[in-house]
């Protein structure tokens, strides 16, 4: 009789250990699904070219094509924004569901007026957004955008801004769909975007 409980104990212990292992795996999976997996995008509160406050909620129901750049960039940023304008043209009626956004990574120099004037040169549909350095840092963090000031050897105010070159396509509910490459023609970008539109 004394042997019986002794024999049963290891079996019970194994079952208990298995349960613990399963629980840990389950909790780990839940953590990964919720917060552990990287998400792109999120809520923002910024200011548009007219100086009016704008939030991510204002764009619900539209696909968003989000680009981070700065207006002191004479070469790459205008090239990309012109290609965005061309892509939307090429998409035709389908492109009307897509709202292009330009978010500056240079809030110090890019006032609402500067941003508004800048984006108007590409397409009247493009919305330019700026904010406080903290607000810009927050939205860049949410979109996992890297940006850094690089001082150049001119006057103290002279600097360029290194920044992630990708565009982000977001769903009408605000969820991340896909990155869109900036270094492609308007026609290529249109095809790239069209694949994701319903």
């Amino acid at each position: 009789m004394s042997d019986q409980p002794r024999r049963k104990l290891p079996g019970f212990a194994i079952a208990l250990a298995a349960l613990v292992v399963l629980a840990v795996i389950g909790a780990g999976t839940a953590w990964f699904m919720q917060g552990g997996a990287p998400t792109i995008g999120g809520p923002f509160k910024l200011v548009n070219g007219e100086g009016r406050p704008v939030t991510d909620r204002d764009f619900r129901g539209h696909y968003l094509l989000v680009y981070f750049g700065y207006t002191f960039c004479p070469d790459v940023c205008p090239t990309t924004l012109n290609q965005v304008a061309e892509a939307l043209d090429k998409l035709g009626p389908k492109g009307e569901q897509v709202q292009p956004l330009f978010i500056t990574v240079d809030p110090k120099r890019d006032t609402p007026q500067v941003v508004g004037q800048y984006v108007a040169a590409f397409t009247p549909r493009l919305v330019g957004l700026t904010g406080t350095p903290e607000e810009i840092a927050k939205v860049a963090r949410e979109y996992r955008v890297y940006y850094a000031i690089h001082k150049t050897a001119g006057s103290p105010g002279d600097y360029t801004v290194d920044h992630s070159s990708s565009l982000y396509l977001m769903s009408p509910s605000g969820a991340f769909i896909a990155p869109i490459r900036a270094d492609q023609s308007g026609a290529e970008m249109a095809k790239d975007i069209a694949r994701h539109l319903s």
Partner: protein, 169 residues
């Protein structure tokens, strides 16, 4: 043997020179001449930044583009854009090299002249003067043609990568 080796190259000389003589509009007076062509810019508002692109060909000794001046901007600097690990960067550069057979092309996404503090707005279709300075060849005066904001190619040229195929809707 010795005489023959001298005579043959001499006979060939006029024929070798012919292709160079045939090209119209190319000054032959100064060998080692630098040519600056297809100088273009993009529409931009007054007080803001602009850009200058061009193609430089060298018919003589290697040279370097070392500076640009234009009355439309307070400052003009030679810059280079490049991507590094998915991050776009722009840096001033002191000079850009050009040599025979290796034209120097300033174009979107690479070497370009950044115009800072535009004294007037640049509108599509405008023209403005600029002086391009080379270490050896000295100053070359050019006229820049303004394309639309963000244009990928010079005015008049076919847009790069344009697709004439139908889009699926």
């Amino acid at each position: 043997m010795r005489r023959r080796s001298l005579v043959l190259p001499l006979l060939a000389l006029p024929f070798l020179a012919m292709p160079f003589l045939a090209g119209p509009g190319i000054a032959l007076a100064q060998p080692g001449q630098i040519q600056v062509q297809q100088v273009w810019s993009r529409a931009a508002p007054q007080g803001r930044v602009g850009v200058l692109y061009m193609t430089v060909t060298d018919h003589g000794a290697p040279d370097r583009l070392v500076g640009v001046e234009t009355p439309v901007a307070e400052k003009a600097e030679l810059h280079e854009s490049f991507a590094e690990g998915g991050v776009m960067k722009m840096r001033p550069v002191a000079a850009a090299p050009v040599e025979p057979g290796k034209p120097l092309v300033l174009k979107p996404g690479g070497y370009h002249v950044m115009l800072m503090g535009l004294r007037r707005s640049l509108k599509e279709g405008d023209e403005f003067p600029a002086t391009i300075r080379f270490a050896q060849a000295g100053a070359v005066s050019v006229t820049a043609h303004v394309a639309k904001a963000g244009a990928a190619a010079p005015p008049g040229a076919a847009e790069m990568g344009r697709d004439h195929g139908a889009m699926s809707h």
